[in-house]
């Protein structure tokens, strides 16, 4: 949620140096596609459990990656890994190698996004769940 100070009709006209101007602060939520964010949140929980992997001890890392996956799902129709550069994103999304869960994750449990961490990873926490509130807290301030 972002707070913005808005010039408002309620702000009185200036009437001398000693007057205080009234600033109206309106709270507005940043637009998000909550449907894909929820889809990727659920997918992440299910896949972590299925693959016996865990979320990062710092869940804001998890939140950021889930948001990145959701954005790619919005724009490309596929959850392309957000931690890589691609010369042609559309082609990569069609080809599928880097669509989450990517081939390295499926074959070797290697997730360099640090979304799915094996138990022995120093950054692994103990959790395989993340709430929508945790996601929104983790990504706040980054948009």
């Amino acid at each position: 949620m972002m707070l913005r100070a808005c010039p408002s009709a309620t702000r009185p006209a200036a009437c001398g140096r000693s007057s205080r101007s009234l600033v109206v602060v309106r709270a507005s939520a940043e637009p998000t596609d909550s449907k894909n964010l929820e889809i990727m949140r659920k997918f992440s929980e299910q896949y972590a459990k299925r693959s016996n992997t865990y979320f990062c001890v710092d869940k804001s890392v998890t939140a950021v990656v889930i948001q990145g996956l959701a954005e790619h799902k919005d724009t490309l129709g596929a959850a392309l890994c957000p931690c890589r550069h691609y010369d042609d994103k559309e082609a990569e999304a069609t080809q599928g190698y880097w669509n989450c869960p990517c081939v390295p994750m499926r074959e070797r449990k290697e997730c360099h996004c640090m979304l799915f961490l094996t138990e022995d990873n120093d950054f692994a926490g103990r959790e395989q769940t993340i709430s929508m509130e945790e996601i929104k807290n983790g990504i706040s301030g980054m948009r």
Binding site: V61, C83, H85, A91, H112, D122, M142
Partner: protein
């Protein structure tokens, strides 16, 4: 070109004892905000800021929704402060700077590269998140001492 190769994942499960230094901090009670203090550099400024810099430069290639990039960001601020005038640290956002990405063959993010005297230090390209201890070792290995 489609990238079909496996990532060279620099992060090893055995590397480092704890993230962010000796004590593993508790993240539950506070919100992590991405506050970048090191400068973001683009293609237009890269030559001046990096290749013509009088000190070695650590370049952090990053992406907006890359979790490990966010993890590493405070370490970049730390490194710039810790190494004083002996090291400059800059960040390059990948989407906005495709020419740099192509020139230095950056694929996985984050990627760290050290530049000295206008050249990429051979072997300094490193993909993936690092702990503070790993970063210090990496900088020492690439000829940067405090």
């Amino acid at each position: 070109m489609l990238s079909s190769r496996a990532p060279s994942h620099a992060f090893s499960a055995r590397a480092g004892r704890a993230p962010f230094g000796a004590v593993r901090p508790c993240y539950r009670a506070r919100r992590q905000l991405h506050v970048a203090r090191v400068a973001d550099v683009n293609e237009a400024a890269f030559e001046e800021q990096v290749l013509k810099a009088s000190t070695p430069v650590l370049v952090d290639f990053w992406a907006a929704w890359c979790g490990p990039c966010k993890l590493v960001a405070p370490l970049m601020d730390w490194a710039e402060k810790e190494y004083g005038g002996k090291l400059k640290v800059v960040k390059v956002e990948h989407d906005a700077n495709p020419a740099l990405i192509a020139k230095y063959k950056v694929y996985g993010l984050p990627t760290l590269i050290v530049f000295k005297e206008g050249q990429e230090v051979e072997g300094s390209k490193r993909e993936g998140a690092v702990t503070k201890a790993m970063l210090q070792q990496y900088l020492t290995k690439n000829g940067i001492a405090k």
